[in-house]
């Protein structure tokens, strides 16, 4: 297992594309957080939240999480890349026990997703701090927002990495898996959340938002947190998703032939 972990870790750090994803996540988190104060400060934006409110400043910092979809892409690339480039052949020739290989890959994807999210989120928080320094009237954030955002980064990064590996196992076509995941996260999940909030709050995006534990109720702003699960429950449900997807990945990749 130690040997396999080392091998999977090398796959993670040797591929330049993975470093590109880290940079992408940093940019998205940084820009996403930095522009929020500007939007909130614009009186025409009509968000009903001003930077003089702690809730609004917390919401700015919470945006540091917005690169979370890069964690799922890392997971997908780690797994479906094996089929796309045919490296699955070398991987399973070296370690024919497929369950063990997959368990290792899930672990490395969790670590990779977590690292990307923690680094990108930290960059986002820093960008938010810099951006807010241009608004002298801005309220002070709560301490919790930093803790919750980083915690959400760790948990969601790890779980989305795992979900990504599972998706890459189920959908071996890399482009299809990535496009499908992004469409789900940005289109389908928000629609379900809007149409059926009672069920929608159990879906990944709602769970990640819930982990941020923002104490605001501003539907116009897109964060109607009163409708979400408590943070701890959300974390547990998200972990449940990780476990189910990991199980699915192990159950399916154990059977099929490797081309």
């Amino acid at each position: 297992m130690g040997a396999l972990l080392k091998s999977e870790w090398r796959k993670l750090i040797y591929a330049r594309a993975h470093w590109g994803l880290l940079i992408g996540a940093i940019l998205v988190a940084g820009l996403g957080t930095a522009v929020t104060p500007v939007i909130l400060d614009n009186p025409d934006s009509g968000f009903g939240l001003g930077l003089d409110q702690t809730q609004a400043v917390d919401a700015v910092y919470a945006n540091a999480i917005s690169g979370y979809f890069f964690a799922i892409i890392i997971g997908i690339m780690l797994m479906s890349g094996e089929f796309r480039h045919g490296t699955a052949v070398a991987t399973f020739l070296t370690a024919p026990k497929r369950g063990t290989v997959l368990a290792t890959k899930l672990a490395i994807a969790a670590i990779g997703g977590m690292l990307v999210m923690v680094i990108a989120t930290a960059a986002g928080l820093a960008a938010g701090w810099i951006a807010l320094s241009f608004f002298p009237d801005a309220a002070s954030p709560t301490n919790e927002v930093f803790i919750n955002t980083l915690l959400a980064a760790v948990v969601s990064g790890a779980i989305l990495g795992i979900v990504g590996v599972a998706l890459g196992t189920l959908i071996r076509n890399q482009m299809l898996a990535i496009t499908g995941a992004l469409i789900y996260l940005f289109v389908i999940d928000p629609i379900l959340l809007a149409l059926a909030p009672d069920a929608g709050k159990y879906l990944p995006v709602g769970l990640i938002t819930a982990m941020l534990a923002l104490d605001i109720d501003a539907p116009e702003f897109g964060i109607d947190t009163s409708a979400y699960l408590p943070p701890l429950t959300a974390t547990v449900v998200l972990l449940g998703y990780g476990a189910v997807f990991a199980g699915l990945a192990i159950a399916t990749s154990l059977r099929r032939d490797i081309e």
Binding site: T94, P96, R255, D257
Partner: protein, 235 residues
């Protein structure tokens, strides 16, 4: 004769087609065996069943009486080159081998050693996608000998090589065989194998049509003649 690889009643079905059709053959330890047959004969499929990448529909294929997946640390016993070589195009040759070495618990110094053995030392830092076909094939061979295995399974290693590459490959295989290794090498270029292999297994349309020592199978003629006679002239 000690049997290194035993294939017994192996069947692999894709849809209605038997890609491998009740194949039984033994590969002797310490010899070079040519696994021959035209394109589509089922060679690659049989080899993929042998190394556990494809599940046989029925029958079995074992290496020293064990299924491949039951070998512990298989790379130290069997080195394999398949037609899909299993390397990442964006990684350098050296990185590709280091990924494999790590998984098999092989030290990185061995990676440098095998790269030198296949004369890829100078290209070790180049990304694999910039390799020529011959270089890719040599990288795959380097991967196969990483664990210093006593058995080598090579699927069409000469495919796409220029004459110099083929000459290099022959020399390389002979050197490996001198160390007493068992080599199972497939090819659809029959003439090419005649001077390289000790034993042959010939298949066509998934079925065994001949096996034995080269002399037994070809008599006084050539491998090509023997094949044409055995299959009734169709190639």
């Amino acid at each position: 004769m000690t049997t290194a690889i035993a294939i017994s009643g192996l069947v692999k079905t894709y849809g209605k087609q038997n890609a491998v059709d009740n194949l039984t053959a033994n590969i002797a330890k310490g010899r070079i065996t040519g696994f021959l047959g035209p394109n589509g004969a089922g060679k690659s499929t049989a080899l993929r069943c042998l190394v556990g990448l494809a599940a046989p529909t029925s029958g079995s294929a074992t290496i020293f009486d064990k299924r491949y997946r039951d070998l512990d640390n298989p790379l130290s016993k069997v080195g394999t080159v398949l037609d899909s070589r299993g390397f990442h195009p964006a990684l350098t040759g050296k990185q590709n081998l280091r990924v494999v070495a790590a998984a098999a618990g092989i030290p990185d110094s061995r990676v440098d050693e095998v790269l030198e053995m296949v004369e890829l030392k100078d290209a070790a830092g180049k990304r694999m996608k910039n390799y020529s076909l011959g270089m890719k094939q040599r990288l795959a061979l380097a991967g196969a000998i990483l664990g210093d295995p006593e058995i080598l399974i090579l699927d069409e290693p000469a495919n796409g090589l220029d004459p110099a590459g083929i000459a290099w490959l022959r020399k390389f295989l002979r050197k490996l065989a001198e160390g007493g290794r068992t080599i199972l090498v497939s090819s659809h270029q029959l003439a090419e194998m005649q001077n390289t292999v000790d034993d042959v297994i010939i298949i066509n349309k998934g079925k065994l049509i001949a096996s034995g020592s080269m002399k037994e199978v070809i008599g006084d003629g050539s491998l090509e003649d023997a094949f044409l006679a055995l299959t009734g002239g169709e190639l």
